[in-house]
């Protein structure tokens, strides 16, 4: 799948917290973690489960830098 977003970090789901509208999904991308907030509908549709392999997709414009 070729998506325009430049950053696709492969990792494993280590935690899922569900709210009523959004859920928090924490992904281990090789020693570091990426936390994603997505709609619970998406979590259900993708059938996300702890331990599963996913890609965390981040558009370049979304990346802040800190020095």
């Amino acid at each position: 799948m070729q998506l325009s977003a430049r950053n696709a970090l492969k990792g494993k789901v280590v935690e899922i917290s569900r709210g009523q509208i959004v859920g928090k999904v924490k992904v281990d991308v090789g020693g570091q973690f990426v936390t994603s907030l997505v709609s619970v509908e998406a979590i259900d549709e993708l059938g996300l489960k702890v331990g599963e392999e996913v890609s965390a997709i981040i558009k370049s414009t979304e990346v802040m830098l800190a020095k």
Partner: protein, 289 residues
């Protein structure tokens, strides 16, 4: 149909300026500008009406743009924005919308122009009465001056809300852009109640073009993003770092995506190609009248 009286104070001498006559005063000119609102939908201002008139007169976007002093791109963007904001398109491309291609104002578009001009004529008479010549006690109309808001968001879609789901802090708003295209916005529950967003209400969904991602072809990948719209690339503009794409998404509507130049090269998307636009619900801002 309601007419909004908006005004601008300009420092130009009386009887000059692009908008003709209005009330007169000693220091500057008070102009009456009509912003047309129809049943609660966003306003269509005079500059857009003039552009529509130019398209009708010249039969193409490029000639119309020249006639009103806009670049082709600016005119094209303005017409797409108008189409996105109206229930039915005001202008349609005749030959696929390529640079300089023919364009036609629809029946709806003509009706819009006619009503606008008629109201403007009548309003001009009222303006003369209201503003008068004697403003020696300050400007009593200061508060009336234009409240119209333009935004930098390239995507402003008129939608109808179909469902609202409330969570703790968040709320999910589902809406129809077209009968086949549903959009989802995640906003705070507080804004939903403040703006009285409920099924049946018309809202404008605002999405920055930098939030929109693209995929080539008509694949439907397993992504968490709730909003996906299929379309055909109608415009591509490359900068050194970014590339801007416009997609024709049907029903006279279009979406703009800004991605990296690298991505544009990798996807190799060109005008005429099928593509899918994606954006997260959390990237949608809702506006109401």
């Amino acid at each position: 149909m309601t007419a909004l009286f908006t005004g601008n104070r300009t420092a130009s001498p009386p009887n000059s300026g692009p908008y003709g006559n209005g009330g007169m005063m000693a220091e500057g000119k008070v102009e009456a500008l009509l912003a047309l609102k129809r049943e609660g939908r966003p306003s269509v201002g005079r500059d857009r009406i003039e552009l529509l008139e130019a398209v009708a007169a010249h039969g193409s976007i490029s000639k119309a743009a020249k006639a009103v002093g806009l670049s082709y791109k600016a005119a094209w963007d303005a017409l797409n924005a108008v189409n996105n904001l109206l229930p039915r398109p005001a202008v349609m491309g005749q030959t696929g919308g390529r640079q300089g291609g023919g364009a036609q104002v629809t029946e709806d578009g003509h009706a819009l122009i006619a009503s606008f001009r008629l109201l403007e004529k009548r309003l001009d008479k009222v303006a003369r009465l209201l503003t008068g010549d004697d403003l020696s006690d300050g400007d009593p109309f200061a508060l009336l001056w234009s409240l119209g808001m333009k935004t930098t968001a390239r995507n402003a879609f008129r939608c109808t809300v179909t469902e609202v789901r409330l969570g703790g802090v968040n709320a999910e708003v589902l809406m129809h852009l077209t009968p086949d295209c549903q959009l989802t916005a995640i906003v705070t529950g507080e804004s939903v109640s403040e703006l009285d967003i409920k099924p049946g209400r018309d809202v404008t969904a605002l999405i920055k073009s930098s939030f929109v991602m693209l995929i080539a072809g008509d694949q439907n990948p397993r992504l968490s993003a709730r909003n996906r719209i299929a379309g055909i690339v109608s415009h591509r503009e490359d900068g050194p770092v970014s590339s801007e794409f416009s997609l024709d998404i049907g029903g006279g509507k279009s979406i703009v995506a800004v991605i990296t130049r690298d991505a544009a090269e990798d996807l190799d998307l060109r005008v005429g190609d099928k593509a899918m636009a994606f954006f997260k619900s959390s990237h949608v801002i809702l506006a109401v009248d």
